[in-house]
Symmetry: C2
Subunit: 603 residues, 2 copies
């Protein structure tokens, strides 16, 4: 079978870089240890090998679709839900009291990375069910928990999140789905929701939709939006199920991730769709953000996973494909020699190293953020807030960097295949199509960038940003212990200063009230800051690798650690260098994209 993930890399990040087993010293995670983590990871890998990877290509060729009023999906969807329910994956991170096993989020996400690398078309089905159940557990009344969560965790019922409406995509303020209070405390939900992933199919007995809607008389805007649980089938007093008038009226055919159904749902059109409030009235967004933040990390993880699978496919191809000859001294080629495999061409190595730098850097960041998550939930009381804030700061980058740069990574992988990369007989073109959704759903890159610059970097008057800088500095200090790493430590130090100075420059606009100017180039700022962030992760990995080589305490081959240091250098030469130009753009005096100041343009 083709390699789609390097388990050594994942375990290196978890154990040697993040020391994830230190979580087991915390009361919440005391029943785990390194061995039980590895056992889980390895069994996920076996399942992914045997079940998920083999159907990845056919799920693309025979996509999920709407036919005769029904959504048709691949049978693997049903098998995965059943298996995940049976082995406790769906609610693994939940409290024991809520039917979970109190698994650290970091291991849960690592498992997701393995599964999504094998097959990114199926992991959303269980992921959304996890998220929806978690939302009910966190904010729902006991009766809602009892009614829905057990069947969801058992993989019998599926969960979804219903935000988008035809007239309101990114603008959740403009949601018009209505909720009318009934005498029994339930609400009649009426409206249309689009782009609902995993919204319907024959393999789940029931669908538990978490729906954003507006109560009668609620204030305009996002402050009038509440959250409701709206099942496809409602539960009668005798426990039997009856239709709740949630109709699947169509689907969306997509360029990629075609095995993951995307549905159009109509609530309350043919009769009453009953829903029940989750969390306080008009506070739907605050509740939903819990699920959205999780989903954003999942999307980042999915993107990194698709790019990881693509990297291994192109690495294998580059090692096997003969083509051309080395360019020798003076520019000559020895035409009598056998063709070399293409991995020996500098440009192919550049593309492979770029893939390695992006994908492994992205995975490191995702795991770092997940560790912060665990520490914010179960760390020592006085540190929880700090880790929570760091997670908040990282989240838009965790979502965006793997999505945007993962596309670039796969693009380079496809290029390594030459013309074959464009053909359907090789998997790269599928990965290229699959990943393209990740910079769109759960908030586009534009939305994530507004979140990063407009909210996150200014959290607590910049205190969170300072904590983030401290994390970077501690890595710089550790790297500074090794002569080989000193130049890169200095490079990151300067990069961190560039980030800070650029942000200060932009903040002048915000402070003078010109918020539109402040935020106009948020995307460019995202690119700059996430490049520095990944450089931080790379220097951290390289320092750990160097320490292992120097002390001889190595778990994997010497080459493994040398490649880590090498790839860090690659990232610094080819990627971190970009921030000087990005800063130049951000500081440039021309204001060219603000409509009010440039009325003639696109008039």
């Amino acid at each position: 079978m083709a390699k789609y993930i390097d388990m050594d890399n994942l375990k290196f990040i978890l154990h040697e870089v993040l020391n994830v087993e230190s979580l087991c010293e915390l009361p919440r995670y005391k029943d785990f240890d390194k061995e039980s983590f590895d056992l889980l990871l390895d069994s996920t890998k076996t399942y992914a090998d045997n079940e998920l990877f083999p159907v990845h290509r056919e799920m693309d060729a025979d996509p999920a679709r709407y036919e005769d009023g029904k959504i048709i999906v691949h049978p693997m969807v049903g098998k995965l839900m059943t298996d995940a329910g049976a082995n406790g994956t769906i609610g693994a991170t939940f409290d024991y009291d809520d039917g979970g096993m109190q698994l650290p989020n970091t291991i849960y996400v690592a498992n997701g990375h393995i599964a999504s690398s094998a097959n990114n078309h199926v992991t959303g089905y269980t992921g959304l069910t996890h998220g929806a159940a978690h939302l009910i557990v966190s904010f729902g009344e006991q009766v809602l928990k009892d009614t829905y969560v057990p069947n969801m965790l058992a993989g019998k019922w599926a969960g979804t999140m219903c935000l988008t409406e035809p007239q309101a995509g990114s603008s959740l303020s403009d949601i018009t789905t209505s909720a009318k209070l009934n005498e029994d405390g339930s609400y009649d939900i009426k409206g249309q929701k689009i782009f609902i992933s995993g919204g319907d199919h024959e393999y789940s007995e029931n669908f538990i939709h978490l729906v954003m809607a507006r109560m009668e008389g609620a204030p305009a805007g996002i402050k009038g939006v509440s959250l409701f649980v709206v099942p496809k089938l409602r539960i009668k007093d005798d426990g039997s199920l009856e239709a709740n008038n949630v109709d699947t009226v169509g689907d969306f055919q997509k360029m990629g991730q075609r095995g993951y159904c995307t549905t159009h749902l109509a609530f309350g059109e043919k009769g009453s769709s009953k829903g029940w409030l989750v969390g306080p009235p008009n506070r739907g967004l605050a509740c939903m953000f819990q699920m959205m933040n999780g989903a954003r990390i999942d999307v980042g993880c999915t993107a990194a996973s698709i790019a990881t699978a693509a990297y291994h496919a192109s690495l294998q191809y580059a090692k096997e494909r003969p083509q051309g000859r080395r360019i020798l001294s003076g520019g000559a080629k020895n035409i009598e020699a056998e063709q070399t495999t293409i991995i020996n061409h500098p440009d192919v190595r550049r593309m492979l190293l770029l893939q390695k730098a992006i994908t492994e850097g992205a995975v490191a960041l995702i795991m770092q953020a997940s560790l912060y998550h665990d520490l914010s939930v179960a760390g020592s009381e006085d540190e929880r807030e700090r880790y929570h804030d760091l997670l908040e700061l990282l989240t838009p980058m965790v979502k965006t960097y793997p999505s945007e740069k993962g596309q670039e990574s796969i693009n380079n992988g496809l290029q390594i295949f030459g013309g074959y990369g464009f053909c359907t007989e090789f998997p790269l073109e599928q990965f290229y199509r699959d990943i393209r959704i990740t910079s769109l759903y759960e908030g586009t890159t534009g939305i994530q960038s507004l979140d990063l610059l407009g909210r996150k970097v200014i959290m607590k008057n910049g205190a969170t940003m300072k904590e983030f800088t401290k994390e970077i500095i501690s890595v710089i200090k550790a790297a500074d212990n090794y002569d080989e790493l000193k130049p890169y430590a200095l490079h990151l130090k300067n990069a961190s200063k560039t980030l800070e100075e650029t942000l200060m420059h932009l903040l002048q606009f915000a402070m003078s009230g010109n918020h539109e100017r402040y935020i106009a180039d948020a995307n460019i700022f995202m690119e700059l800051m996430s490049t520095v962030t990944i450089a931080w992760q790379w220097l951290k990995m390289a320092t750990v690798a160097k320490t292992a080589l120097v002390t001889g305490k190595t778990t994997y081959s010497t080459t493994f650690y040398e490649e880590k240091i090498h790839t860090m250098k690659f990232f610094f030469k080819y990627e971190l260098t970009k921030i000087s130009s990005l800063s130049e753009t951000l500081k440039h005096p021309d204001t060219l994209t603000i409509a009010e100041e440039n009325k003639a343009v696109f008039a």
Copy 2:
């Protein structure tokens, strides 16, 4: 009908920027004038509106394919060949004596841009026929011209170029297709050719393949490769056609450009495939380069055209789609206000301006190169060589910039559509797939970059590069006449210096014999140099626009000219700034991608 091209922009570039009608002063083009050029362009636009654009989407949905030994294509392929034959398009640039109308290449390419913007799945069929016929006209003996060219120009017979073999993609040195001399002077051709665009279908009576093959006893490598014309059906003495044992044995199903068939041909397997030598023995590549250079410009033009159509689709969507509200002073939004159309959001404007900057910059470069082509063919005797050399220098960038940056442009266009961009009901996902081939065929970006850095910039000991710099300086001088443009003139001057210094830095490696190091980052150099090149084109356009506004000699709206200046500024702020980082990478001391120096990596 949706807009897919801005004819004003094309005519502005041709007439106001390049003054293409000055060509009509040259003897070769004396029968043309501005009006006849416009008449041709407008009639191409009408044809594209009525015939090509309407079938663009269905050619994707119902792709060209191999069934029962035959290639099935859309009937539009047949209609286009017939119509192009009837109106003289295929051989339009040929000499009168060869059945052409001596149309300047610039206008021919401009027509191709219009047609490819409407439908990029069909223009290759006529384009290859043009190129193959031109090769026979240029290098073939009279009997070959008489036998093949008239039917090709009439659109009855189609042409192809057959280079790639399964074991030899980019490495033409490794071609093994053989050519064995017969007593009658013909050759028996035997071998397999893959990725042959437009290689077979029911709408052309015959296919005239230009095949690279190796004569018995020829030297190893590219110096033993000759060029042959090998028809699908050979012509008997009585004029009737008989099978020439060129068999279509399969096809390639592709991610995009699915209406353009890509075939696998077998020569001489079931009997003798007769071919006739074109040009001198063992000089096949030199001859084929004529067709390849034309094809490379065609590919750049196709890429720019797909990106142009995508730009207009996303511009239209951005003007129509309401979503969200402006961010006002202090970061507030007026939630009571109606939603704004998304074109008013800075990030959407940024993406649109990026598309405009890339696509219009690319079209300007393509037309500039095409004008150099015409001047190299028909200009005053003493200038022909200079223009020939400038064209040689530009060609790899003309192929690569629109391909690589066109992908980025479309990627941004897709993003403007949000989730809809990923769905098949909107055209962006098709454009996104279609364009991806352009950085692969006719020499990948890697190959083009080796050509640029390894051959072109050092042509004639750097004299051509100096001529290129002169062209840039003349634009800087013209811009310097306007206060508004002075800062940008200075920016380009510095950028040109950065290019020069970076090249000098790299040349040290070549001069010390370390050619592999010199060439290792050719792709990064390509990015740097083509960014400077497009900045040159933008400053040129902006200066012409400024002059028109100042003198009042405007053909189009004031907004049109203001947008040109604005987009130049955008390119300089967001794109030209990138070269400082690219130069930093190119000058970085680490050598990380050379296999010999990093044996542990990817071991």
